[in-house]
Structures are given as structure tokens and as C-alpha cells.
Symmetry: C2
Subunit: 982 residues, 2 copies
């Protein structure tokens, strides 16, 4: 016969530690271990997760032997406690609680006080001498049983309770008298009868059986299923069911109940941290009706100071457990220390004191803030409790990110609170802090954002139509929606702070404003949101960038991580300030400096436009000249060829386009050179990968549609005004002649922009293709890079430039560009008299480049995976279009387990990467391979990069620490797996 | 010592047949073989291609031993002929001719009459007794030597010649007297001296040495290099050099020269076909100054009939060789038959008759028209000359295509000629015939083309900016450019007829017209072009579609091909008429029926638009309803859930969008069903793969930019008119109110279109993604397919529908859609009471689908490679943007050897295909795999599809025969390779 049921101490003795959570669930395993360690645990037993699965497999029937084993275990508990289940004199009461392998707080069901009936309630009165307590316990059982086991809507019980409360003076639960509670019990039983057409079961065993079934059933309740889907917990784990002797913290003032952490879960300080309530049940602590008291004296005193409460008053009205029950407190301290040592981690404890006696109800690993997680891990290493490897494995890389996100200056935030600027609190859906102008629609957000104004997008709720505005905004604030709402999911995806479900806001989209508690915020007014706390403020609160040096423990943890990791961590940085930040965060190189971002700066955009608008014509003439030169050289005595050459020379010499093109390039050279000097200085001695121009040219030009609208408008206006005889412009209006001049200019620009428009710019004329059509642009950039390197080298700095070509798909493209690069480099170095070592490499961001890696590595000295574009092409999904239009739906329908633009798609994109690494290295064993897509900062993706043997990942500066930790964890996991398979 | 030089008969004896062309070149091998067979060949020798390569390797120096071997061989020739080189009494004269492995007509150089000097010319006079002949030969030598060996511009010689000709009565070469020619020789020598500051070499051996060098040098002449680049002939083959005794067809009327084919190269008829000129040299035949005569009497008589020449006159003035020299003719007939038998193929012969004696100068495989190629191959099988396999391998698949292209009705064309409508002749750059309105710019071509009007785009020359117009046009006509011009290359790529370089046209773009010989064609006038002949006609000439049944030999050849091929050939066809054509051409199934083409038809486009514009809102409401239903079902006693369900139901019931959406779907069902019935009927018993809706929805809507312009124009007009006090619309103008109504309507449409616009539609919401968002559209299509199948089955037809899903990238997408498909199919079959077998499969057109083929094959029963999209994504190249903007440049720079959209890129796209086939079949061994991209009709791509084991290729109907032949050739090549490696 299969063993379905384990007494707590049996669980400890009979089940090996590594199987305990699987079989007994988290709560059951904790109880078993506490019982096994001889700690004071109310006796009880656990029904295994296997029993739960067998129950569902049999079509919601108890498997064979289960009930008998329950009865047997119950009997053993009766013996231990010295009470009998259903005994009218001295009844045993039990709780029936779910407990799965992974904590699913509030998602599954619990029934307390099982065993109370019209008969046994009398025994309870006899035992406790407290009629009020006994009837209160009984009405709680009927209420919970009715609601949870039988599905009677909870408000129907509440309604009755409210009626009685209304009769009392204080209108509170605690004001109900014993008589009232007895009447309530009767009314509850009547309600039960009416709802279900059956009596509330008076057989305690029947109560138990049904409660166990309800716990099992709750595993597939909607909330639980949704929760598991969201947190990706498998549905076949099943839940265990814990049946445990009830102990009562509400048996008078020598009783209490409480929760505690063995260390401070907010700061990580090594101090017992917790609260208790005298004469109360566990649910009262959670319900928050009474103010819980602090456990330690120190914490109690601090609390009183904060609330302006005198020491006398505190000792009288708010004494700590340490002061109130010094002996029990000492015992609890010892138990807590023992459990932390046993588990080698911070414990989250639940306890009850019943008439002076301490009972431990639960121990589990304590959840903690990012800050605490780091401090605790580091402290425990220093205490000799855990190893450095364990410390590194203990902290979630994503948590670190929180520590390093911009946050509000605490003092400024405090001042805002004092000024009454705290408007409301919503759900802290995506961490970080942001401040900006409130705007109420996505288009405005986008427009203002384009103008460089910081905005917070405020919406009742967001839909895919708002995504372009969310991208442009610094933060998102919504009135409706929860942690899995569109706004929350998208904001986390975008890495932007978001506060959602802030129901206090009254948003008026028509008038573009919201009001909250009578205060009105209009479009353009400054607001500030804290996505880590859910707070919403009026006005501007300055944000501060965290500093790694000040986060001492984090720096220490990361230093340990660096010892373990094999992957290097580089950073994506376009400007010297970003490079410096990245280096401060531990970056060992720049994996991607995008030169085109520099082109957008106001001081150079006009020249960039001049370059682009003249490039096609100028290049055409120069190509003709080159062809004519070749022809004339091949046929030196052919007069036609000589004549054609002279004509081509003249065409180039007299062309306005060539002149403007060359002038633009000349103007851009010194500014680009200066950009690169700054990067080399910041990264002195470390490699800097500079990517040559990548985006399609029209990105630098005015938008076609806007120009078109302007042209049509002007044209129509001219037409209309011409119809008016003797038309004269009014004040402020332009003359027709002026308008016509303007029109001609705009039409010319429109034509030029139109010539550069593309159906699918992602797949169009960009990257290396631009370089092949317009080699002078590449020459300009390479010259700027090499001249910058020469300049800084003369100043004693060691530049290590690596020149990277985007979007290559064939080795021949790279051969052509490499010749240009090497030629320009030789020229510059000869002229400057300085020798610079540089590398030449390519992005691998087109599937074909990955497929032909062996050939491409003949010319490229390094590869850098551009996984953003590679994901777009491998999936044939344009990120711009998909995220708003259908990717969300794909996530909902689980067609994709994660957004492939955030978490690397190992099966598709990853497979190509693996092939490219292997085949590229076969050609060139010392090939340097890295990744510079956004995935370079994602822990799961970093793990994969480690697996396939990349040299480095390159992440945005703020994610460098995350990447360092993730890389170390990948290495440690691999080591563990190796040891296991040995 | 390496042997560089072979006497002709030595070449036959000493070099194995399969090495002969490599070493001796085509001409040299032919001479060797003719000499070896004992045919009358003027004695001579060949300098090998190896010598040529050694010459270049040594920096244009004769390799060691070469000159000595030349002298030795020359000596042997002297002995044979009985004359001595440089002998003042009886001089030997030789020709020095290039001859590479592959024929490069006119691309390389020849020097004749080498060995003539001031001394030896006298010997020639003595030999021939013809002073005029001798000086003419001498002046030809100086002229050719000066021009070809020394690079003196040819016109300088012509200029002198012209001066003398002007003095004569007839103004012709032949009118020059012996004295004149002697003077010309002196003037030529003087010119030579003046140009080069040296004397014309009087040492015959020096002439020979320099002529050989010139032949070698011409291998890297510009024309030759360009030619090889165009035809993809390697540059390292080198040319051989043939030195051969001169024979003269111009030694009086018992001499002649001519060319002949052993069969008619135009029709393939088995009859000697050729022309000769009495008393003439080879170059005279080519120059076309005198009208050549026919060789056979029959041909001569026919020619006379055509030209209205009486039999008497013919016999007198235009006698055939058969009549003029019956014996020599007989000898020639025998030689020709012997050579054809020897080479087992049609031979193209050059011969000279010197004083009654026949000399064979050249034999080579005869070029022939497509029609002739097919007939000759088939006839030769029937004659027992070659095997069926050889016949199948003899015909280029692309040639077949010509036979099946639309062509002009010959009689109509003849009538047009008679009417004087033949305007001009240009270069036949891309075969096929087209008729349409002349238009002079690409935008008009596109606009008219969109309206369904046939147009011919006429341009001075084309550039990438014209490509959109070329796509829209039926044919292309240019004034300038050659076979490798932009117009020619692009037209061939597009498979459109083109006549280029038609210099007779005078195009006036300003006035949108062209004139030719005084006749003016204006925009909109009909013209007709024949891209196979280069003819340009005024007016409309009806085109006819060829019929395979009438092409008896072709049908026979294809039937043999069918015996050998392993690949099936299916067709891409959207309409029943195309399906019927495909079946007639031998298609064994429909590999791709695009349902969306059907959506564009005028009778349904309004409903399609209605469907699209209402789909987002309707689907949103229906999704809400579905969610509410699930929630209500899960919580039957939750009043909130019930209320939400009722609200969702009401929303769907009252929504205009839902109503319009459903109505549109209802309207589309019967028309789609009818479409499918037609396809099933046409393909009775054969598989029909129907692809569900694929393109982005906005393709069915008006263009955004046009709508935007209309809206802005209206808005501005309203604004302007409002400014006018007391404004009243003039006649024909709308009132402001009317304009406002129109504006509101257009604005609504603009918003809807805008919501569907995408940055990169190629990578956007299309294909299966549409199906997942709007499952009702899929349901509609599947219902139409299954109902159609049921209907035709009841009529005794066997429908074999296969339902194909486009753009899938993950197996989960397919699972979702497959459930819908199967559910609808079950429903329809149950309702109709008919059982239909259908398959479910997917396109593989996204790299990820290929990478995950093993998983995808779990759900898909067939794969069809969509290599158009796969090429776009593997290369990250949008075809729309690239072909105009940079792909041409990539072809020029040889970055891509061929346009990857025409010839499958085996390394990139092909590698993914190979992986997908292997891994897909590992999951599902009977997986049906085919290709439906354009590559399915390209012979090289078909060969690759055969190699990787596809089941079928699917090509456009007109290319089905091409594909049948290509598939057979692939199988035969594989067989040959297997035999070789054994």
C-alpha cells in the first residue's frame, strides 16, 4: 500500500531532504523539519502531493488507502495531544491547509477549526472556560467551510455578521458578545441549509474529508491556475494538504500570534524582525484591523519614536514581546537562530503563543528586497554560513537591476510628501522612478517625446494602440488594471517605471486632465511616479542615479561573481558619459558604439541631411568617373575613351551635388573624430567596438507623410486664393508668390525623401549596403576613428578600436569594405606617423551571415550577434509592428513562452548562433565572439551565451552588474551540472 | 620540355578527346579532329591554352621552348604545303587565329595573310598571276596587323581606303585597281611608320611572333573580359592560337567561301543549310556587302520565289553551289555528314574552295533556335544517332520557355509588315511578344497598369527608378543600351519582352512621344514589340498562346524527360483557367493557389474591405464574449461573472462592427466556394494546395498617402472658403457642407487605414498571424474549401484539397489553426454527409520554421518552401526595395553571382531548406515537401530541389515544361555523377 500520509516527524525521518518539498510541499516540509529538529510544532500530518495527483487522476476520488491512513494519523495525533477528534468533552480541533512545492500566497484554500460541531463546541467551552471564544471559533468554521468547501458567496455570511455588528457600540468583531455569536452560529447554519438544502455537517470526520477535498480542488481553481500560468509553475506538481492541531493565540493575554523574519527583509540587517498581536488569531495580523506590536524592544522603541509616542505610553500600550514575555521571547530567539542555521538562509516564521506556550506554525525561506538579498548573502559568507558560490547563486540578477535603477532622492520625496504632493498610490507594476509632463494620449506622448520633453503617459488603461506613446514616455500611469494588465506587461518589457490600477484618479480624456482628491493635474503639468512603491506625486522630484561604489555589499558580491564567470561583460555605449558609467559598473569593453546616434545631435544633423540628399547624385557621377578612368587606362589610345574621361571629370568638377556631398563629409569628420576620442579616453586600454553607419538614410530626414501634408496644403491654398479676383493677403498671411517659393522648396525635399523611402526599411538599403553604395561615408568614419586613435595615443592613452560592419550577409561584402577600411587606415597611420592596432569584424544579424559563418570568418576577426535584428529576421517579425499588433496576443495564447525580443529564442535564433560560433571558430580559432543585442543584459539569454561559448556579452551600462552576476551563475550552474553527471 | 605546339593531326593523335578542347580550344580541337579524320584541312598547328596561361604567368613573355616549337611546326607545315614562309618565290602565308574552349564570337583577334612582305608579295604574284589579288592581300595584312597587333585606330586605314574608292566609278573595294592597291600599300606603310615611329616588319617571323602575342593579349582585352563576365566563363582558361596555311576563296570564279549548318538551325529540318560567295574571302560573307548565294538548289529556288526572281535569272545570276560546282558540292555533303556523325550533333562549318579544291576551315557545334534544338534532339533519337537521355540533356530548359512564351500571330505580323507598321528593329533583349499603349514614364506605366491597361514602357534607357514601371508594363522598349543594359537585365529578370538599343527611335520625353522615320507615336498609341526578334511595330498585333499539343517534338521530348525525372512538377495557379493551362502543360498538381488574388476581384473587393475595416473591433468584442463565457462557466454562482457575460453578449449583439463583419464574411463564402469548385474541377484527381489568406490587410485598402493627400486638400479648401464672407459655391463646386461630409467619411477611412499601416509589412501582421487574430476569416476559407470539395465530389469529381498555412514560425501557431481547420471540416462534412480527405500543411518561408522543422512536422503533413519570402528573410533583403536600390549594384560587383530571387541561393537559403527537409522527414517520414517560390521554375534551383529530395517543384503554368525538363536533367546528371564516382 502506497504511503499517502506522513506525520510531521515521519516526514523528517522517512523522506530524504531533497524529496521533501516535492512530496510534502513547502509548508509540510518546513513543519516536518521543525518537528524533526524537536521544535515546538503543533502535532499533525501531511497528505502528499502524490495523493493530490492520484485524486485528480481518479476523477476527483480519494485513492485507495488514503482515508484509512488519514484516520490512522489522526489517531496518533489524538494520542500525542491527549484530546480526541469529535470528543464532546475534550475535542481536538485541526486546521486543514494547502501547501504546494512553490509558495502561491493566497491562491489556495485553508479551513480552520475543523472538528467543531454543536456538540464539541461545548467541550471547547469546557476546555477554555470561554464561551465567546468557542462560538466565535464555531462561526468561523461554518463561514470558511461554507465559503471555501461549498462555494457559498462570502458576502452572504458577512451580511449577517454586519447586521449584528451594527447593533454593538464599537461596530467591530470584537464587540460581539457570546450571545450574539451563538445567534450568529444559528443564522449561519440556517443560511447554509438554505443555500445547499442540507445541514452543516455535524460529523467531524465528514468535515475533515470535505475540507481535504476542497484543498485538493483548489489546486485547479481559476486563481491558482492563472497564478501558475503567470509564474510558469507546472500544473502537474499538485498540492500537499496539512492537517494540524489548532492552537489559539486568542485565549487571553497570555496568548499571542505573530510573524517574524530572522533578518530584516527590507535592509538585510542581522536582527530579528517581526510583529505580534496579543490575544489574537493569525488572520487578525493579516487583516490589519489592530495595529501589530513589534517583537524586539529596539524595534518597538524606534517605532514609537517615529510615531511620537512616549516611552511610558509605549511600555504600557505597545510593549514588545521581548518585554511582555521575556522567557517565551528567549525561546523564540533560539528557535529562530536554529532554523536559520539549519536552512542556511533567512527564515520567514509564523508562530502562536497559546497560554504562554510557543508553537511554531511555519518556516520558509524569507522573501526579501533586492538590497536585503545582497546584504544577507554577503553577510552570511562573512559569518561562514554559506560559500561565496552560494552567495552568488542566492541573488536574482534581475533584483540587482532594481538597486541600480534611477530612484527618487529620498529627501526630496519626503519633502514632497510633507507638502502634500503625494496624490495617490497604485500598484507598483514596473520598478524605477520617473518624472515628466503628464500627457493623456499616445500621439502627444510620442510628439513631445520626439521633441526631447520628458513625459509620463496617463491613461485609464492602455491598449496596443498606446504602445508608441509608451515607448516615448519616461513612465506610465493607469487608473485601471493589475500586475498582468497590458500597461504593466508592456512597461516591464520596455524597462520603464509604471504605476497601474491607481483607481483614485479621475481621468477626463476630453479635457486632458485628471483629478484626485479634488486636485487637478492638466496636460503638461509635472508629475512623478515611483514604480517601485506605487506612489504618484504632483510636481517634479529629482531622480538620482545609484552609484556602485556606494553599494559596498553589491560590489563585494559582484567581485566574487567575477571570480567565477567565464564570459566577459562589455557594454553598449554611444557616448563617453555612458562609457564611463559602464566602466564604473565593471564593463570590460564597449561591445557596441552606434555612430548614427551621434548623427542625430543638433550640431551635425544639417550636415548629415546634406550628405544624404546629395549622396545618390554625387556617387553616380563619381562612379561614372571611375568607370571612365578604367576604360581610358585600358584603351590609352582610344580617343573616345579619353573624351569620355574628360567629360566625366568635368561632370564631377562642376556638380553641385558632389560639392555639397564633399562639404558635408568634411564637416562631419572633425565632430565624429571628437566623439571617438571621448570614447577611447573613457575606455583607455579596453576594446571599443565602433559600428559603422547602420540605419536607412530616410531616418535622418523629415517624415514623408508630414511633408506630403504640407505640400498638399500649400498647393490647395495657392489654388483657392488664385480663384479670388484681386486677392490680397490679409495680415499675417503670406503672398501667393511667397507660398509658391515655399512650395517649390518643399516639393524638392519631398521628392528626395520619396526617393529614399522603402516598403520595408528593416530589409532595405542600410548597414553595409550603404557602405557599398556610398563608400565615402565609410571612408569618413574610418578616418575619424583612426585619427581619433592617433590623437589619444599621442596623449598617452591606449586606444583599442574595433571596426564593426552591420548587416553583412556575404563574405564578399566584407571583402570590399575591408579593403576600403585597411586602405584608409594605412593612409591615416602613415600621415600621422602613429601605429594603431585595430580589428575588423561584423555583426551577425542576418540569418545568412550565421549560415555562412565559416566563410565570413575568413575576413572578419570578430563576430557580434545583433540578436535584435536576428530575432526579427529569424521570426520574420518586425518589432515595431508586432509588439503593438500581435505579440501580446501571442504571449497570452502561450504561442511564445516569452517575448523573444527580451529572452533569447534558443530554438530558433539560438540554434543559428550556435552554428555560427562553431563554424566561425573552425575557420578562425581565435575569433572573438560576443552579443550586442538587448539580450546581452537578460540573465536567461546570458546563460545561453555562456553555454555556446561566447567571449563576452554586451549590455546597456545599467545592466552590466546584472550581466556580471548572471554570467557567474551560468558558470556555477554548469559546474554543478558537471559534478552531477560525473 | 613541355609541348606547347601541336600540328593539327598531332593534336588528334596525342591528346585524348576529352582534353582536346581544354588544350586546343574549340577551333583547334575541331581542326585537329577534321585533320585526324582525313578531311581536307589547310595544314597548320595550334599553340595550346597552357602556353597562353604560361605567357601571362611570365608577365607576357613566351614560355621557354615555345618559339622554337613554333618554328619547328612551321617547318613541318612548309614541307607539307611545299612552300616556304618568307620565300620570295613561293611564299607560305598563314592565318593566326584565337580559339578558346568556349566560343566567344568576335571577341578576340585574328590576323590573316601573315608572311607577306615587300619581297614575298612578289612571290604571291608569281604564284597566282594576279597582282591585284596579291596587293589586296598585302594591304589587308598591314591594315589588320596595324590595327590589331599595334592598336592603330582602324578608321585611319579606312580613311585612306575611302579616298581611293572615291576615285573609282563604283566606289567599292572591288573597283580598286592593282595600281591603286599598290599605292594603298605604300600609304598604309607610311601611316604605320608615322603612328608607331617604326617600319612595318619585313621579317615574316617577326610578323608571326607579334601576331601570336596579339592573339594571346586579346584574351584579356576589355571586350573579351566583359563577355566572359557576362556569360560567366572563367578567366583562367586562356585561349589557344591557331596558325594555319592561308587558302583563298577569292582566286577567281573557281574559288569560293561559305558557311553551312548540317541542319537548318532555325527550324531543325534535316537539310544542309548555308550560303557561299564565289570569288570571295570569308570576311566578305560576314561583312554582308555582297548577297550570298544558297548552297543547295532547293534553298536557292525557294529564295528566288520569295524574291520574285525567275528561274532563268536565278540560274544565271544566283546559282547554288550544288549547280555551280556539283563535284565539290558532293564532296562537301559527304564531309558534312561525316562530321555530324562524328560529333553526333549539328555542325556549323566554314569552308573555302580555292581553285576548285575544297578546304575545311572550321567545324563546331551549331547554335540553333529553341525550336530547332528540340526538333534536332528528337530527330536524332529517331535516327539512332543519340539516346533519349542525350536528347533530354541537349536542350536548355530555358530554351523551351521561349517556345511557350506568348508570340505574335505570324500572319497578323506579316500583315503589319505589309502595311508598313514595322517601325524599327532593336536588340532582342528579352524574348516574348507584347502589345500595349506606349507610355514614356514609369509612374504613368504603373498607374495605367494598375487600372488594368496594357502598356509598353518606352524610355531612352532605364534606371533603377524605372523598375516599378517596368513591373507594371507588358514590355519594355529603349532607345539605347545593349544586351547587358539595365533594361535588358531587368526585363529578363522580370520575364517580360524587351527590345533595347533601338537607336532609330527619336524619343521626346517632354512631349511624351517618339518618332521614327517621320512617323510619330504619342502616349497612349498602341505599339507592339517582339522581344524574340527585336521588331517594333505600330498598332496592336494579337498575341497567341502556344499550345503544347501542337509542339509535337516538344511533347515527345518532355515525355522522355518524364521517364527520367524523380521530382514531380506542380503549378502555381490561382484561377481555374490557369489550372487548366498548367494541366495541359503537364502539371501534376497545384502547389500554390493564392486565395487573396481572388479577393481583389471587383465583385468582392467591397466585402473584403468591409471585413477588414470591421475585423479589429468585431474580434475584440467576440474575444471579450469568449472570455466572459469561460469566466461565467468557471464561477457559475458568481453574480459578477454572470453580469459580465450578459453585458458581453449584449455588446456583440448590438455592435455594428460585428454585424458588418459577419455580413461581409457571409457574402464572401459563396464566391470563395465557387472559386475553389473551379480549381477542383480543373484538377480532378490531382492535389490542390490552397493557401489561406496571406498578405497584410492594408493591401486591400486604399493607399494611405493618397487618402492623406485627399483629406488635407479637402480640409484646406474648407478652411480657405470659410474665410470668404458670404461664400457661395461656383458652378460645379460642392457646398462647404457637402465637403465636410465627404471629409468626415475620408477621415474615418484614413484612421482605419492608418491603424493597419505597418513599418515593415513584410514582417508584420500577415499570414498565420492574421488567422490567429481573426480566426473567423480562416473559418470562412476552410468552410468554402470543404463545401466546394463536397459539391464537386457529388458531381463525380475527385477533389484533393490540401490546406496550407503561410508564414508560420512555431508549431504552436499551427496547432491552434489546425484545431480550427479540423473542427470546421468535421462540421461541414457532417452537415453535407460527404467525406473529404484533405491534408494540412504549412509554408516554410520564415527561417525559424526551417530551423524548427522537426517540431513543425508534428502538426504539418506537408511543407512547401516559400523561397521568395525565405530569401527575403535569410538575406534581410526586401525585394521591393532591393531590386531597384542596390541589388543591381550587387550583381555588377559580383557580390552575388546571380539574383537570389531568381536563382536559389544554395549556401544560405538552400542550407536551411536541406536542414528542414532532413529534420522534417525524421519526424514524419512521409512528409510531402515541395517548393512554390518563383525558384520552382528556375532550372538551377530545380536541380538543387532534386538534390535535397523534394517531392515536387511548383512553377507558374508557362514554366511547367521547363521544370519537367530541368527535373529530368537533374536526375540524369545525378546518375552520371554516380557512374563516375563508381
Amino acid at each position: 500500500m502506497k504511503k499517502w500520509v506522513y506525520l510531521f516527524e515521519e516526514g523528517y525521518r522517512e523522506i530524504p531532504a531533497e524529496r521533501r518539498r516535492d512530496l510534502l510541499g513547502g509548508k509540510g516540509a518546513g513543519l516536518a523539519e521543525m518537528a524533526g529538529a524537536g521544535l515546538p510544532v503543533p502535532p499533525g500530518f501531511t497528505i502528499t502531493t502524490e495523493a493530490c495527483n492520484a485524486y485528480f487522476a481518479a476523477g476527483r476520488q480519494f485513492p485507495e488507502g488514503l482515508w484509512e491512513q488519514v484516520l490512522e494519523a489522526l489517531h496518533r495525533v489524538e494520542e500525542k495531544v491527549g484530546r480526541r477528534f469529535g470528543d464532546p468533552q475534550n475535542p481536538l480541533l485541526v486546521s486543514v491547509r494547502s501547501g504546494a512545492k512553490f509558495s502561491m500566497p493566497g491562491m489556495m484554500d485553508t479551513v480552520l477549526n475543523v472538528g467543531l460541531t454543536d456538540e464539541t463546541v461545548k467541550g471547547l467551552i469546557a476546555q477554555t472556560g470561554d464561551e465567546r471564544f468557542a462560538y466565535d471559533a464555531y462561526r468561523r468554521l461554518i463561514q470558511m467551510f461554507g465559503r471555501i468547501v461549498k462555494g457559498i458567496p462570502g458576502e452572504r455570511f458577512e451580511h449577517i455578521l454586519d447586521r449584528y455588528k451594527a447593533k454593538t457600540k464599537g461596530k467591530q468583531d470584537t464587540d460581539l458578545t457570546a450571545e450574539m455569536l451563538r445567534d450568529i452560529v444559528e443564522e449561519f447554519k440556517a443560511l447554509y441549509r438554505k443555500e445547499l438544502e442540507e445541514e452543516f455537517p455535524q460529523d467531524p470526520l465528514e468535515q475533515l474529508r470535505q475540507a481535504i477535498r476542497a484543498v485538493f480542488d483548489s489546486w485547479f481553481g481559476k486563481r491558482a491556475v492563472d497564478y501558475r500560468n503567470f509564474y510558469k509553475i507546472p500544473h502537474d506538481l499538485g498540492t500537499a494538504c496539512n492537517v494540524q492541531t489548532m492552537v489559539f493565540g486568542n485565549m487571553g493575554f497570555d496568548s499571542a500570534t505573530g510573524v517574524a523574519f530572522t533578518r530584516n527583509p527590507a535592509t538585510g540587517e542581522k536582527e530579528l524582525y517581526g510583529e505580534y498581536l496579543p490575544n489574537a488569531q493569525g488572520e487578525d495580523v493579516v487583516a490589519g484591523i489592530r495595529t501589530p506590536l513589534k517583537i524586539t524592544k529596539k524595534a518597538s522603541q524606534e517605532w514609537a519614536r517615529e510615531h511620537g509616542i512616549s516611552e511610558e505610553e509605549r511600555r504600557l500600550r505597545y510593549p514588545s514581546l521581548e518585554e511582555r514575555m521575556p522567557e517565551t521571547y528567549q525561546q523564540f530567539l533560539e528557535v529562530a537562530a536554529l532554523l536559520e542555521r539549519h536552512y542556511r538562509d533567512v527564515q520567514d516564521l509564523e508562530f502562536t503563543i497559546e497560554r504562554g506556550r510557543l508553537w511554531m506554525l511555519q518556516t520558509r525561506t524569507g522573501k526579501r528586497t533586492a538590497k536585503a538579498a545582497v546584504k544577507i548573502a554577503v553577510d552570511m559568507v562573512h559569518e561562514g554560513l554559506i560559500t561565496k558560490e552560494e552567495a552568488v547563486m542566492r541573488v536574482e540578477p534581475e533584483q540587482i537591476n532594481q538597486l541600480l535603477l534611477p530612484r527618487f532622492d529620498e529627501k526630496a520625496k519626503e519633502r514632497a510628501r510633507e507638502k502634500g504632493d503625494l496624490l495617490a498610490r497604485g500598484l507598483n507594476a514596473s520598478p524605477g522612478a520617473a518624472t515628466g509632463h503628464a500627457v493623456f494620449d499616445a500621439d502627444t506622448a510620442e510628439a513631445w517625446g520626439r521633441d526631447g520633453r520628458p513625459v509620463i503617459l496617463v491613461r485609464p488603461e492602455t491598449t496596443p494602440d498606446d504602445v508608441h506613446g509608451m515607448i516615448a514616455a519616461r513612465g506610465i500611469l493607469t487608473q485601471r488594471g493589475g500586475a498582468t494588465s497590458h500597461a504593466a506587461v508592456v512597461a516591464r518589457g520596455l524597462g520603464k517605471p509604471a504605476v497601474v490600477g491607481c483607481e483614485a484618479l479621475q481621468i477626463d480624456l476630453e479635457r486632458k486632465q485628471f483629478s484626485v482628491n479634488g486636485r487637478v493635474i492638466r496636460e503638461g503639468d509635472f508629475i512623478s511616479i515611483d514604480g517601485s512603491t506605487g506612489e504618484v506625486f504632483a510636481g517634479q522630484i529629482p531622480t538620482i542615479d545609484p552609484n556602485l561604489a556606494e553599494e559596498r555589499e553589491l560590489a563585494e558580491l559582484l567581485a566574487w561573481a567575477d571570480e567565477f564567470r567565464r564570459l566577459q561583460v562589455w557594454a553598449n555605449a554611444d557616448y563617453p558619459r555612458d562609457a564611463r558609467k559602464a566602466r564604473e559598473f565593471g564593463a570590460e569593453g564597449i561591445g557596441l558604439a552606434r555612430t548614427e546616434h551621434m548623427f542625430f545631435e543638433a550640431d551635425r544633423l544639417p550636415y548629415v541631411r546634406q550628405m544624404i540628399l546629395n549622396a545618390p547624385e554625387a556617387q553616380r557621377l563619381m562612379d561614372q568617373l571611375r568607370a571612365a578612368q578604367q576604360a581610358a587606362q585600358a584603351r590609352p589610345d582610344d580617343p573616345k575613351a579619353q573624351k569620355a574621361l574628360r567629360e566625366a571629370e568635368r561632370a564631377v568638377r562642376t556638380s553641385k551635388a558632389v560639392k555639397a556631398y564633399r562639404k558635408a563629409l568634411d564637416r562631419l569628420l572633425p565632430v565624429q573624430r571628437k566623439d571617438f576620442e571621448g570614447l577611447f579616453e573613457a575606455m583607455d586600454g579596453l576594446p571599443v567596438i565602433i559600428r559603422l553607419i547602420d540605419p536607412p538614410m530616410h531616418e535622418f530626414l523629415p517624415r514623408y507623410e508630414e511633408l506630403l501634408a504640407e505640400v498638399v496644403e500649400l498647393r490647395t491654398r495657392i489654388e483657392e486664393r488664385r480663384k479670388i479676383k484681386g486677392y490680397r493677403p490679409r495680415k499675417g498671411e503670406k503672398s501667393i508668390r511667397q507660398m509658391e517659393e515655399e512650395l517649390a522648396e518643399k516639393e524638392a525635399l519631398l521628392r528626395a525623401v520619396n526617393a529614399l523611402r522603402e516598403m520595408n526599411p528593416m530589409l532595405g538599403l542600410r548597414g553595409i549596403r550603404l557602405g557599398i553604395l556610398y563608400p565615402d561615408i565609410i571612408r569618413l568614419q574610418v578616418r575619424a576613428i583612426l585619427e581619433a586613435a592617433c590623437n589619444v595615443k599621442r596623449r598617452g592613452i591606449t586606444p583599442k578600436p574595433e571596426i564593426m560592419i552591420p548587416l553583412s550577409a556575404d563574405v564578399k561584402e566584407l571583402q570590399i569594405v575591408r579593403e576600403i577600411v585597411d586602405e584608409v587606415a594605412r593612409e591615416v597611420m602613415a600621415r600621422e606617423g602613429v601605429e594603431i592596432e585595430y580589428k575588423f569584424g561584423t555583426m551577425i544579424e542576418v540569418p545568412r551571415a550565421a549560415l555562412l559563418a565559416a566563410e565570413i570568418a575568413q575576413v572578419a576577426e570578430f563576430f557580434s550577434f545583433g540578436t535584435n535584428d536576428l530575432t526579427q529576421t529569424v521570426w520574420a517579425i518586425s518589432r515595431d509592428d508586432a509588439e503593438g499588433k500581435f505579440l501580446l496576443r501571442y504571449l497570452e495564447e502561450k504561442i511564445v513562452p516569452e517575448n523573444p525580443f527580451q529572452v533569447l529564442d534558443r530554438k530558433g535564433v539560438g540554434r543559428l548562433m550556435r552554428m555560427a560560433v562553431e563554424e566561425g571558430r573552425r575557420t578562425r580559432p581565435d575569433l572573438e565572439v560576443g552579443i550586442c543585442g538587448e539580450h546581452g543584459g537578460d540573465p536567461s539569454s546570458i546563460e545561453f551565451c555562456h553555454e555556446i561559448g561566447l567571449n563576452y556579452v554586451s549590455a546597456s551600462p545599467y545592466r552590466v552588474p546584472v550581466a556580471r552576476l548572471a554570467a557567474a551563475q551560468a558558470a556555477l550552474k554548469e559546474r554543478a551540472a558537471r559534478i552531477e553527471t560525473r
